[in-house]
């Protein structure tokens, strides 16, 4: 019993900060549907002031303001797509974690496949060249005899 109490006490400091944080992140109005939509859209949008975090992940003031604004726009009747378009108009394609498919992003989308193709081509030519380098060297009579002797020796040992 004492042990369990001690364990609970030890865990307390770890559980406290998460409680506090949960309070900070609480910004949504009562509507759980809108809350879900705000979160899913902000997952798709980059927090511009915090490198490598989405608007949903970040607790920066910028992200909080943005989430509040997204929520307000959704409560005003905008759908998810309109909200994303609103952000793209102001902050550019860069705010989207999934870049759109267009001329300037072709390299972004196809770059990895081009690299893969180059890799396969290099591998293929290397293998071909190797194959050409390998020549059949016929054994001389002397070598044949030696090979036969070695084989015989080996099988003899096995039997013994």
């Amino acid at each position: 019993m004492k042990k369990i109490l001690l364990l609970a006490l030890l865990c307390l400091p770890f559980s406290l900060p998460s409680l506090v944080q949960a309070k900070v992140a609480e910004y949504t109005s009562g509507d759980p549907e809108i809350h879900g939509r705000v979160m899913s859209v902000s997952e798709e949008l980059r927090c511009l002031v915090c490198q490598g975090q989405s608007l949903a992940d970040s607790n920066s003031d910028f992200a909080k303001d943005m989430r509040a604004q997204i929520q307000e726009m959704m409560e005003g009747g905008m759908n998810d797509r309109q909200v994303v378009d609103f952000m793209v108009q102001r902050y550019g394609d860069y705010v989207r974690y999934r870049p759109p498919f267009k001329a300037t992003t072709l390299l972004l989308w196809f770059g990895p496949f081009i690299l893969l193709g180059v890799g396969v081509a290099v591998l293929y030519t290397n293998v071909l060249r190797r194959r050409k380098q390998i020549k059949e060297i016929p054994l001389t009579d002397d070598e044949h005899r030696r090979a036969a002797e070695l084989l015989k020796e080996g099988s003899g040992e096995n039997k013994a």
Binding site: Q51, D65, Q69, R90, Y91, G92
Partner: protein
Amino acid sequence: MVRYLLPLAIFVVLAGFMWKGLSLNPRDVPSPLVGKPAPQFQLSQLHQAEKTVSRDANLGKVWLLNVWASWCVSCRQEHPVLMQLARTGEVPIYGLNYKDERQDAIKWLADFGNPYLVSAHDYNGRVGVDYGVYGVPETYVIDKQGVIRYKHTGPVTPQALRETILPLVRELKG
């Protein structure tokens, strides 16, 4: 020969990209608004709340819109540069006081000097969002037709002013 040159070439290319990457500012996000009409706004003036300031009132002249706030530390850094520019009178500077308490902002200008012809009080930051503001300070160069021609993110340095902003302003003035 190729066997040795190829890795070297790959290394040089990679090093080139990385070297370039070192000098890029990751916070510098290209604004999609450059080349587009500056978003409309109508806000109350910072000093005279009953008066308004709008984008359209500035049609026909080249002007700078500088986004600032009393809580913004880098604004202090660029402030002397703006003061200097205001003294030359070469281009009118309008302020967009972003998410700031009115008294704080007025006090800040009283303490450090006011380079702005007029500051607009964007208390809830909605006009800032329309302009794609994500870090303060930011400075926009807006032409006679009300089109954003350039956006500078971060404090305006004397160098940026001399080499980019002022030449552009002179060109736009014609």
